[in-house]
Amino acid sequence: MFHQSKIIILLGGFSWLASSSAVGQPVDELFKTLAQTGPQASGSADAQQASDTLMTHGVEILPELLAAMDTTNIVAANWYRTVYQIIVRRELSKQKPQFPVTELRACARDAQHQGRVRRLALALLDEIDPAFRNELLRHMLDDAEFRHDAVKLVLDTGNQAQMANQSELAREKYHQALRHARKSEQVTRAVDLLRSMGEEVRIIDQMGFVTRWYLLGPFDAPNTSGFDTVFPPENETNVDATYDGQNGQTLHWTLTETPDRMGQLNLIQLIAATKEAVGYAYAELDSPTEQTVQIRCGADDNLSVWVNGEKVFARQQWLNGTRLDRFTATANLKKGRNQVLVKICQGPQHVNPSVPNNWSMQLRFCDETGRGIRLTNLLPSLTKSD
């Protein structure tokens, strides 16, 4: 029993030593321990000890923590963040907290840092230096992380100007918001505000939607077979050709222009109210130069896209709604005429009968920031004004 007691004491001692091995280690060694966490929760046991020790430090290590969080290793980033939270909370509980404000501001401003780290710094500044946010956002209209917040600030400024009967300032702000907005709700908001002031702006042009297409369908595609089935337009696109379609009908290409302000095509209305089918949309677009562009698209249920005969996008999913910029693909445009073919699959009715069986698509061309690229639609026009 005495030997057992000695063993227990020794084991307890080793345990204490193990648990406190991080104590006394230099901060950079503790940071390295957290950096080594990763897949399969590797390094977690050591990270627990290291983070416990780091949490005993003060705000002087916050800049280093923010820099360390700026990593693609999200597991390590979260370990750093847990330490950051404890130190921040402890400092905030003091009567006169002392934070490294200069470094926090620098972090929020620096577009070289990851967006989530910049937001973390800004969230703390919101508590200790609330005037900084608007000061920052005034310079962030083209910033990948803060653009949306900056555009919101501009819209709010415009609204305040309107309320103060400063119409010209309001109009200027709404135009500014429109130039920089990349989210549909902000684009439509700016357009609606300008319309309320008597000025019409086409969202379609702003966003780069393709709205005029030749449409063809429906081809019969039982269940979800349509995605993998190759129908004739994929081999050769001829807008004068006819095809055998669903239920024995003869299919023709039909020139259509969608009236939807966000360029969405409702294929239930424009092709047929059907299910388990495939439709095609074809357009020809003139590009002023040879250029690499982004195609941002979405469909219900799914779509595949060819540009000049090359498939640039395809994703088999079913029962999805058409949402703005759901998918992004890259395409190379020639100077001059470019052919765009889109295949849109319509699946079976959802098991929940209350879910509508929509069939739709939306596609636009833009630059990498999401700003619409104007391409001239070469298809025959449908209105006298074109």
């Binding site: 977690s44 979260n78 370990w79 929940n352």
Partner: protein, 423 residues
Amino acid sequence: MLQPQHYMTRLVLPIVFWFGITLASRSILAENWPGWRGPQRCGVSTAKNIPTQWSATEGIAWKKELPGSGIASPIIWDDKVLVTAADGQKNDELHLICLDRKDGKELWHLRLWGTSPTRYHSTKGSMASPTPVTDGDRVYAFFSTGDVFAVDLDGHLCWHRSLATEYGSFENRFSATSSPLLYRDLVVIQCDHFGDSYVVAVDKTTGVDRWRVERPETWVSWSSPQLARVNDSGAYELVLCSSEKIDGLDPETGRQLWTLRGMQRECIPTPVLGHQLILAVSGPRGTTFAFRPGGRGDITESHVVWQTNRGAPYVPSGILVGDYYYLTTDQGIANCFAAQTGKRVWQKRLPGSYTASPIAADGKIFFTNDQGETVVVQADVPKYQELAHNPLNEPVVASSAIGSGHIYMRTLRHLLAIDGSAK
């Protein structure tokens, strides 16, 4: 009407035989609600003195505002209530919040980043959709961003697995909602999505994979795993409802034991247990199966005891109380079946639409609709008997939890502790 002692015999004993022992013995307490759908993952608690009546202004012990969004149920362990949430412009800000059960005071609030947010339903989905699970030492929280966290009950991170980094981002249109399950020293997570589906069992102490089974044939679904005990052998089976089938796996190794074919293409409800049966719903116009575990291979023809195409919901899970099995469609058509035969006993149109799964305790079943109204029905009797109709004036899509004489109900913006007491 059954007397209280009958509930102990008719309700507790079948559940004792049939729930999976996922937690240490000290955790099997009537007052705790440690994970999705409670101690046995069937929505039933043995707690007593659960409130019957309340309203938006009466019978609410406390109300706590929650950040962002979340449809995960709250969980309860002793004096703590734990809940998850998500927000942020990119939906990658994850929250794990611990509240004092007695007054809703925040004890700690851990904020973490998520790896890969997915699409989600605007009101019925969130990156905080799966319900966390606890063994009383740690809470294991799975988020729809593809992240699993183990956190001790004082709020200290123990480990983090970014499944999205290791095995690919989830592709999901309604956000992943499958809630993790605890089996002995394993955390089991069912990952069915448009991409490469799999189920993984992770060592709860270290976070390391103990086993992982790829399921490339499996389409997206949102059901949660269940654990069934085979009465004769005492062994446990991991039950996974998914696309067009139900699989039974050995929870120790992930080895495939059996398959039952015939489910719908997408499955949301979690199966429940009782009377030595597993009862699984596959969705509207689909088949609800009541079948025996313990088979091997294809058990479609051999182990189904009864089945019905009546009254199946798309979202809410069913509930079995005593001798009766209850289903509520999303449109509010409630059906009560005899659990052992599938014979329909009654049908009733409840008000409103339904996303939350019903819960039961103290002889009562609580059906909460999307509008926040709770219809309280007498449990385990052969006719529909409404006990109360409680409006809340706030939307509810998350399933509630029961503990310590309270119902913990999550609305779109708040967590409420309902004690039914008059003010």
